[in-house]
């Protein structure tokens, strides 16, 4: 049931773009994206609900393809502060839990 994230890790230079993918074998109602920096708690980025619109703010946006049970997180013109591990979490109808993927480690260098 755990969603699959790809890539597992990515290294970027400041200003480059990245895409992180999340896919599930089960029908999804929601997809969450979180970022966790080393030694800190995960921090919410955005949530996408079935039937909802693509979300985004500033240079981070995400899409949710319900038919394919996939979501993608788009990081544009990456900044050093974007470094961390990105987790997607999936939720199913009627559930009270979010199941997280294994995470994608993103490192942005100057």
């Amino acid at each position: 049931q755990q969603p699959v994230q790809s890539p597992q890790a990515v290294i970027l230079r400041e200003g480059e773009d990245a895409v992180i993918n999340c896919s599930s074998s089960k029908a999804l109602y929601s997809v969450h994206w979180y970022r966790q920096k080393h030694g800190e708690a995960p921090v919410f980025l955005m949530i996408l609900l079935k039937g909802g619109e693509q979300k985004g703010h500033e240079k981070i946006s995400a899409s949710f393809n319900e038919k394919k049970q996939q979501s993608s997180l788009y990081l544009t013109a990456s900044q050093l502060s974007y470094s961390g591990t990105y987790f997607c979490g999936t939720g199913r109808t009627g559930g009270f839990k979010t199941i997280f993927g294994a995470g994608t480690r993103l490192f942005v260098k100057a």
Partner: protein, 113 residues
Amino acid sequence: DTAVSQTPKYLVTQMGNDKSIKCEQNLGHDTMYWYKQDSKKFLKIMFSYNNKELIINETVPNRFSPKSPDKAHLNLHINSLELGDSAVYFCASSLQGFNTEAFFGQGTRLTVV
């Protein structure tokens, strides 16, 4: 004001001991969670409570017993600690269920020696 606070932040204990981790949220949320993050950073849900009622118990050993005295608190008691219990435990809360964003506490790093 910290939205979701956990205590203690670090916990080092010997095998076989019993320990508790406390969690409090001041966001007025209905749903609270316990997650375990292992050394490979895999974040796995353990329990989910909604309005003090246990909703999800993800096949966690019964040595782990959550308790929610009220909506704002969700504590985790662990009996007979084992080496494999070493991990970072995160408490989180959300307004209601998984459709709303979750706020995480700072985590408790448990080390069993």
